[in-house]
Symmetry: C2
Subunit: 337 residues, 2 copies
């Protein structure tokens, strides 16, 4: 570990991701990851009268499934960390309020699941909480009309643009002797390389992922070869290529084990999503639906989960500012170490 700063933190008694659930929408069900969701909602309104209320239902379903799969009651959860892309994170607050769980709101854009998982794990590891949860979501219809254009406008999408996933992931962390374990984490710094194109967020976010993953390797002495997969959140096709190039420039090859949730969630040949998927729920749902089950079974032994967030708002974009980004990383393992 570097002496001057502790951005990578290793767990003292690696806690367990006790239960996890992934909820998706219709388009997510039709993609290559469709079978890994716990529940699919064909209705983008989730039986509500607005898309925003629907997104709250999506998060509520994810928390509900994660609780039930773990045999947990809301009263057993000491703290829940959650956030989403909606202004003032109302997807989360309106979604989880009925559970009456002590709540700490977080904002990390599409890095939210990594931020929530690292905080929940640290709270359990350092005995601040006995059981802690994390949740996040995104919804194509709420994000599109908040960040870009009214849905009915039907504007042409650029080749570098990504499709916001309608999906949610929730998980619960606790001390246990069962895998998967959270072994460590790296808190990211904000990286701003001057990218101003809000339709090319993969390129804006790739340097943040590079910064955080590099810091983890430097701090721990571990190398890409120690991991089955280095998983990023939603860099998409463009950002993934930038990330691999940044590592290659340093003489490090990650391309053979790099996976990006944004590239995995849709079929580029049949689903017309351009550079891939995005949104807090993209990485959140694939972590909970695809990667954590494999780590639990031992099909894979170790991953780095480095979700990235573009910290822009429509207001600052309209004012001509560049897009600062951040990436938080969590090391999850089948082995306790």
């Amino acid at each position: 570990m570097r002496e001057h700063r502790r951005s990578t933190i290793l767990m003292q008694s690696p806690p367990t991701v006790l239960s996890f659930a992934a909820i998706g929408g219709k388009k997510e069900a039709e993609g290559p990851m469709g079978e890994y969701f716990d529940k699919i909602n064909e209705d983008p309104y989730f039986s509500e009268d607005t898309f925003e209320k629907g997104e709250s239902q999506l998060q509520k379903q994810a928390v509900d499934h994660a609780l039930r799969k773990g045999g947990l009651e809301p009263g057993q959860i000491d703290v829940l960390f959650g956030g989403d892309l909606l202004n003032q994170c109302t997807g989360t607050t309106y979604g989880i309020k009925s559970y009456e769980i002590p709540f700490l709101g977080i904002y990390g854009a599409c890095s939210t699941m990594a931020e929530g998982l690292l905080l929940a794990s640290l709270f359990v590891d350092r005995q601040i909480a006995r059981k802690a949860m994390a949740v996040t979501s995104s919804h194509f219809c709420t994000a599109e009309r908040q960040y870009r254009m009214p849905l009915n406008y039907g504007g042409q999408r650029t080749p570098t643009s990504q499709w916001t996933a309608t999906a949610s992931g929730a998980l619960a962390v606790s001390a246990s002797s069962q895998p998967p374990y959270v072994r460590g984490c790296t808190v990211g710094k904000i990286v701003d390389m001057g990218v101003t194109d809000a339709n090319n967020m993969g390129a804006a976010m790739a340097p943040a992922a590079f910064s955080t993953i590099s810091a983890f390797f430097e701090d721990t002495g571990l190398t890409p070869g120690d991991f089955d997969h280095i998983v990023t959140g939603d860099l998409g096709a463009v950002g993934s290529s930038v990330l691999c190039s940044l590592f290659e420039r340093e003489g490090v090859s990650i391309a053979d084990r790099h996976l990006d949730c944004g590239k995995m969630i849709y079929d580029p040949d049949t689903q017309d999503v351009h550079a891939g998927g995005s949104g807090c729920g993209c990485a959140g749902s694939l972590l909970c639906g695809y990667f954590l089950p494999m780590l639990q079974k031992g099909t894979i032994k170790n991953i780095l989960f480095a979700a990235t967030g573009a910290l822009l708002s429509p207001t600052v974009s309209q004012q001509g500012q560049a897009i600062p980004s951040i990436s938080h990383l969590v090391w999850i393992s089948n082995e306790r170490g």
Copy 2:
């Protein structure tokens, strides 16, 4: 401590709030708390070309002053917790990005300073970080045009409305043998009593403060008499009265020691603020400028700092939803215990 849930957490080795700074605007300087700010900015643009960029400068100044007053370099800070009221918390991200400090974004609306302080204190207490910071801000001009009306519209304000403070507070937490110490904290639950009037946020937030302060007393066995002041964030005149009534209904009197930053920051007779001040920066700046210096000197020995946040957004208000609220509490003391 209650066995079933750990919403109140006592520090194992109470950490010190090592340094703190409060920055304000012109109206805040003219109020009764004017002399307690470290720096006043007469220009609402903070020498930038938009109010939003100005708010980022405000936070940057607060972090800068807190670092300098503590003799600290950014490289010594292991993690910074920050957030604000702007969509996607851009006041914070654009304000602090140049410091290159590992960053965890939080969203608690006007409870943000309490959330940041409790997280920074827990990180230091449980040896996750050696030095941790928290920062927040609000700005009248950015909040007014984002949440309510264009500034030039000049709509009539209701008697229950509050004035968003243009202010910021920042602090650094570290292990030390000097006061003030953070002794414990209570993580709040979301409380929704069905209030839908976005111009009466004090009333919406008072039940959240009551819930969290009551939980602290129940969990610890301490009573209002153990504290010089029970400080709320920005309930204003209406919400403060509701809070005291809620305690009276339980046979507990807090009125003789309750102070509300929203009632303190402006002069109701001369400053035309109706029910008082509000905004993350209101409680944040008075904690850093007024209360922490007194706790450091020993003028007062113990306070509960229970900031409250209204977790609404303009979108959900327009969709007719009620305003869920939250309050996080921090016990700060001149004595280590």
